[in-house]
């Protein structure tokens, strides 16, 4: 008795690829063309299957139960007097189910025929030790005349003896600037720009040097209390006058 039960219900629920797959297996047990299948009979088979599974305390995934509920609804719709307002009609639902089963069945059979074909590496074989085809890449080097002469220039510049000369620059020393600003500021009563303390003949780099040295000299002299500095804002002209003015 026990043996009988387990024979008819050798169901490995993991083996089913979902409720539609189970339905298809049951439908194929009717041994008729899927187009001629009895949906009512299929619903009964599925529900019976579910009940037996439950009796065996098999845990069924939720989608199997959802399908069972839906099929029970479909069955009642097909059996009870028709409600013309209802859309989609139970017949329509049954037809859709049948169409889905047909399509799944078609693909199942196609898959079986596909994997049964003479497959490469299983039934038919490629040559195991081909000599191989070789592509010999021949380099065609590209370079422009400019690259060539620029390269030579680069080498020459790199390897030519180079003489480093530190150019003697004309500068005003800080001592010179302190002496000069201190001497000139004594005679200025009004505010005068720092540039007016530079020698008239100063240009270029010497002028820059003189300006820088005179500025430091002015700071030093202000610290010593010998002159006053004024600037309205950063980068505005810098004014100097004697401390006694």
């Amino acid at each position: 008795m026990d043996g009988e039960v387990s024979d008819t219900l050798t169901i490995d629920i993991d083996g089913w690829e979902g409720p539609l797959d189970l339905l298809l297996t049951l439908a194929r047990n009717q041994k008729v063309d899927l187009r001629a299948i009895s949906i009512l009979q299929l619903v009964d088979q599925y529900i019976a299957f579910m009940e037996e599974a439950r009796a065996l305390k098999l845990e069924l995934a939720a989608d199997y139960l959802v399908m069972a509920a839906w099929l029970a609804y479909l069955k009642s719709g097909l059996l009870l007097p028709r409600n013309p307002e209802e859309s989609p009609s139970p017949e329509e639902l049954a037809l859709r189910l049948q169409l889905r089963l047909e399509r799944l069945n078609a693909m199942r059979e196609a898959g079986a025929r596909l994997v049964a074909r003479d497959r490469l590496g299983r039934d038919v074989f490629l040559r195991a030790a081909p000599e191989g085809l070789r592509v010999v890449r021949k380099g065609r080097y590209e370079a422009e005349i400019y690259d060539l002469i620029a390269a030579y220039g680069r080498i020459s510049a790199r390897t030519r003896p180079v003489m480093h000369v530190v150019a003697a620059r004309d500068v005003m020393t800080l001592e010179e600037a302190i002496e000069r600003v201190e001497r000139l500021v004594g005679s200025r009563i009004e505010w005068s720009t720092i540039e007016s303390f530079l020698p008239d003949e100063a240009h270029g780099l010497y002028r820059k040097s003189a300006l820088a040295s005179s500025f430091v000299a002015a700071l030093e002299l202000a610290r010593q209390g010998k002159l006053e500095l004024r600037q309205k804002s950063p980068f505005a002209p810098l004014y100097l006058r004697g401390a006694g003015a």
Partner: protein
């Protein structure tokens, strides 16, 4: 005629030495730009017909392989390195017969979600590739088969898929909605008339 024979010899040697199936253009790169490679291939097909080695075409590529009926002599280890699961086989069939097809469409046909690895396994085997996105909301990726699929399953082209013409003619490659409209409209028509006559 001797020239033709020489070319057939050359094509034979190139295909024989190649590690991969070769297209006509690839063969021509070896045997000469002017060569009528297609004619040479046809003559080789004749020469090899019925022999232990056959010249076959897979997609646009050609290769030599052993004759299928000799499989029993050559199958040293029968163990299949990767046995495809049922889900894998069905998914491959759906992609091959419906391509390009989205994951949602595969799931609609199978009535179940595809587990994560199923398409990966098919792609890893070199049989399936992503084939662009469908221009509908969500722009889902579509899948199609590869030249390697044709080679592995011994198909000259997708038209050689077993039973594809019959399936197409029976509308079994059309989505349910489309099939339903075709069928259902007739059904509705009948139903309507019945209802009408009932109410009269």
């Amino acid at each position: 005629m001797i020239i033709q024979d020489d070319l057939a010899r050359a094509v034979e040697a190139v295909l024989f030495a190649s590690e991969q199936p070769l297209s006509v253009d690839e063969i021509r790169a070896h045997v000469g730009a002017e060569a009528d490679v297609s004619a040479a291939l046809r003559s080789l097909e004749d020469i090899y017909a019925g022999r232990g080695i056959e010249l076959v075409r897979r997609g646009d590529k050609y290769h030599f392989q052993t004759a299928a009926d000799l499989a029993h002599l050559l199958r040293r280890d029968r163990e299949e390195s990767r046995k495809l699961s049922r889900a894998g086989i069905e998914t491959l069939a759906i992609i091959a017969y419906h391509e390009p097809v989205t994951r949602a469409e595969i799931e609609a046909i199978r009535g179940v979600q595809i587990s994560k690895g199923t398409i990966d396994v098919l792609m890893e085997a070199g049989w399936v590739r992503p084939a662009g996105r469908r221009e509908v909301p969500g722009r889902p990726l579509t899948y199609a088969t590869t030249p390697g699929f044709l080679t592995h399953f011994g198909l000259a082209s997708r038209r050689d898929l077993p039973g594809i013409d019959d399936l197409k003619a029976a509308g079994l490659l059309d989505p349910v909605d489309l099939a339903f409209e075709t069928l259902g409209n007739d059904g509705d028509g009948d139903g309507e008339n019945e209802t009408a006559s009932d109410s009269e």
